[in-house]
């Protein structure tokens, strides 16, 4: 990778700081950040690059670049390769199959993955339920579920939202009634991404109707093959099928599938939400998109033959977003540093979620702007990566509008940004 691609965008003529310089400056200022590039770090970076160049299928990276979803089989093979190398669960503790890396190594790894356009692995197992299982689950549960999550053989989906319980998640009404060694589950979940492809679902269910809403919820792991589960597609604004409704009718779930204590599910649910929100912030992905946009800006010619990169208005917008994103990136590092030092990360995930999704939406907006007229065509085959002919307009333009449209969801899912502001007002500002 060229050094320039690693750099923070500055207007021409100004000093070009790159990531390493800034890292050193930050470290030199004596902040409580245990990050300094050592020889070992450089060697590690080289190792990561070598692995990527050997293992990452070119086709997956290309599809990621233009925003088309990767083919499932290829994604699975990529996860397998990462798993064999022991690099699939960057943030997990080593004893459960994680890497045990230093924050700097994690940072380097994420940076290299993003720079190489490596697709993001499905977060439902690795980032969401996995940590819940190794933190709150029992030995049996860890043994049963963690290996499948790491290898990618078992795909998970998330049963949180319900038709009447979105922002007010704790009001959820899917009921689990104890019957001997089982719970009988009845109710409905909604917005369940990839339920139609998932093997298991982690579910919040009501186990006590009389307690305060937050105190009557349990956290269940449910095999999607259990009789009584029905999945119905929800077609979203991009015309594609990612989302579902999941109906439960007298679904028998062994009590041993419950994580932790009965009626304590809210605690585990919130733990997961913090991880979810941090993931939603999608900092590495946005970073990659900025690099990609900058490349487009250099290639794309306007009517008068000049490059979009010469358009100061466009580049200023890009630069503003990059500044915001850089702030987020270092906030991420700060959170990691806090975690390492045993200080609670707290509600900073709400800030990350708001700013991260704003950055994503602003970037998707700029991509539409770059594509101009070519933002209009809707090319389903190209979006799904199954097209034979060349697209109308440049390849990058194929997905820009779908990404922009579906990207509206980012300020809504994982707790709407309005809800995140309430969290900040209450938990950070004490209002």
């Amino acid at each position: 990778m060229k050094e320039a691609d690693n750099s923070v965008f500055c207007p021409p003529g100004e000093i070009h700081y790159n990531k390493n310089t800034i890292t050193r400056i930050v470290a030199a200022k004596g902040q409580q950040m245990d990050i300094e590039l050592t020889k070992e770090d450089d060697a590690f970076r080289a190792e990561v690059r070598r692995f990527i160049s050997e293992k990452l299928p070119r086709e997956l990276a290309e599809r990621e670049t233009v925003g088309a979803s990767g083919e499932r089989g290829a994604l699975r093979r990529w996860q397998k390769d990462l798993h064999e190398k022991g690099w699939v669960a960057v943030n997990w503790p080593r004893q459960y199959g994680g890497t045990g890396w230093t924050p700097m190594q994690k940072h380097i790894f994420n940076e290299e993955m993003a720079a190489a356009n490596a697709p993001r692995l499905s977060p439902f197992g690795l980032s969401m339920v996995g940590p819940v299982i190794y933190t709150f689950g029992n030995e049996e549960q860890k043994k049963q579920h963690l290996p499948g999550i790491l290898s990618g053989d078992v795909w998970w989906c998330q049963g949180y939202s319900e038709p009447g319980s979105g922002s007010d998640l704790a009001s959820l009404r899917t009921r689990a009634v104890r019957q001997g060694d089982h719970y009988i589950v009845n109710g409905q979940k909604i917005w369940t991404s990839y339920a139609h492809e998932a093997d298991w679902i982690f579910c919040l269910v009501r186990t006590d109707e009389t307690a305060k809403p937050q105190e009557g919820i349990s956290f269940l792991l449910i095999d999607m093959k259990t009789p009584g589960i029905e999945v119905k597609p929800i077609i979203s604004i991009d015309g594609l099928h990612h989302l579902n409704e999941v109906f439960f009718t007298d679904v028998k779930v062994p009590v041993t599938n419950r994580i932790g204590d009965e009626n304590k599910g809210w605690t585990y649910a919130k733990f997961l939400l913090v991880n979810e929100r941090t993931g939603i912030a999608g900092v590495p992905e946005s970073k990659r998109k900025i690099a990609h946009l900058r490349k487009i800006a250099r290639q794309e010619r306007l009517g008068d033959g000049t490059a979009l990169a010469d358009d100061l208005a466009f580049m200023t917008k890009l630069s503003e977003i990059e500044v915001k994103l850089t702030g987020l990136e270092y906030t991420n590092l700060r959170i990691v540093a806090d975690e390492v030092a045993g200080r609670p990360a707290g509600p900073s995930s709400s800030t990350l979620k708001i700013v991260g999704t704003e950055v994503q939406q602003a970037l998707s907006e700029l991509a539409v702007e770059a594509a101009a007229f070519y933002a209009m065509p809707f090319q389903r085959e190209h979006l799904m990566g199954i097209a034979n002919e060349a697209p109308v307009g440049p390849a990058y333009a194929v997905s820009v509008t779908s990404a922009y449209n579906f990207g509206r969801a980012a300020s809504i899912y994982g707790g709407s940004n309005e809800i995140q502001r309430n969290v900040i007002a209450k938990a950070v500002l004490g209002l």
Binding site: S161, D168, G393, N405, R408
Partner: protein, 361 residues
């Protein structure tokens, strides 16, 4: 100009509103959206009974002889109901091109047919706004060669009006030899655009063509798109406010939360002043030629931005429901998105405005 609609204009708008409310409800739009590249003939026939295809066409040619402000308030209603009809090309841009640049014979031949709603007229002017990737149309001796993208009202057109790269308009028949036509699916399924590829296609020039005529056709198109966004945006606000009044979380309707109230209020505060801009831009096309081009740029770029803000915010207020196909809010969202890009995105149009005012080299 008295800065209000006349009694006749209010009646016109009301009758179009009633017509679309009854004849183009969302389930009809949905069906039409599955067949983007077919014309909804019965709906267009109904619109023809109201005189809509010929509203700008002089009475001598069987039209109503109305002005652009009238057309704008009609298209506002089309936007409001995301009407899947070929209004922009057929009722506005094509008749205007014929009136500005056509010969008497051409006018006599085509305008009455358009006015009667008998024919659909597609319009290819995108190449006059910004050429990319080998598109562009060159005129030879009575022929056209090249490629026109994003041809408005492409579907089932009986006639195309095509601008070449030297500001000449031409009439092209859809069955002309050497013409290939390719449908283009876009994000907006309520209007049809497509591609025309010309290989020595015989074409009939409009003899009074000029750069000014092409520009005026584009100006008119832009004002109409702004009006469409105005109507679509207004509807999105109404839908968001209604949803905020129904949807309950934490035991109350979400519209009772200040965060949601402000989202709704911000939309209203952004859109309402834009209405005056659209009206004035349309009025200028009729009556203030010196202002017309600049106002068309202003209306197009401003409504693009306001429209996008409203589209997003209304979607946000709807929560998850907002981006489902089921609720259908996305038809409005995409209509506004399409309006933004067609005939020049706001960035490009603002630059044009700067040039017009001598602010940019």
């Amino acid at each position: 100009m008295e800065f209000a609609l006349s009694e006749e204009q209010r009646l016109l708008q009301d009758s179009v509103r009633r017509f679309l409310e009854q004849n183009s409800p969302l389930d009809k739009v949905r069906l039409a959206a599955g067949n983007t590249h077919t014309v909804q003939r019965s709906l267009w026939a109904g619109a023809s009974e109201l005189g809509i295809p010929g509203m700008l066409i002089p009475e001598d040619f069987g039209g109503m002889g109305l002005g652009f402000l009238d057309a704008a308030i009609v298209y506002e209603m089309f936007g409001r109901y995301v009407a899947p009809l070929p209004f922009l090309g057929t009722a506005v841009m094509a008749p205007l091109a014929l009136m500005l640049a056509g010969s008497e014979a051409q006018q006599e031949k085509w305008l009455p047919k358009i006015a009667a709603g008998e024919i659909i007229a597609g319009v290819a002017v995108t190449e006059s706004i910004g050429v990319r990737e080998g598109a562009g149309v060159k005129a030879g001796k009575g022929t056209l060669t090249g490629k026109a993208l994003f041809v408005v009202d492409w579907a089932e057109a009986d006639l195309y009006i095509v601008a070449d790269s030297d500001h000449g308009f031409h009439l092209v028949l859809p069955d002309a030899k050497g013409l290939s036509r390719r449908a283009l699916d876009t994000i907006d399924k309520t209007r049809s655009v497509g591609e025309l590829v010309f290989d020595q296609v015989s074409a009939e020039p409009l003899p009074r063509s000029s750069a000014d005529a092409v520009a005026r056709v584009i100006d008119a198109g832009r004002v109409m798109l702004a009006a469409d966004t105005l109507g679509a945006g207004q509807m999105m606000i109404e839908k968001a406010v209604a949803y905020a009044g129904e949807r309950k979380q934490f035991g109350r309707v979400i519209g009772s939360f200040q965060a949601v109230k402000h989202l709704c209020a911000e939309m209203a505060a952004a859109l309402e002043p834009s209405r005056s801009l659209v009206w004035y831009a349309a009025h200028a096309l009729d009556e203030v030629p010196g202002d017309a081009r600049l106002m068309a740029c202003h209306a197009k770029s401003h409504l693009s931005e306001v429209g996008r803000f409203v589209a997003r915010t209304a979607t946000e207020v709807h929560g998850g429901m907002g981006f489902t196909d089921l609720l259908g809010l996305h038809y409005w969202f995409k209509r506004i998105g399409f309006d933004r890009q067609l005939l020049g995105g706001p960035e490009l149009v603002r630059l044009e405005a700067a040039h017009l005012q001598g602010w940019a080299a």
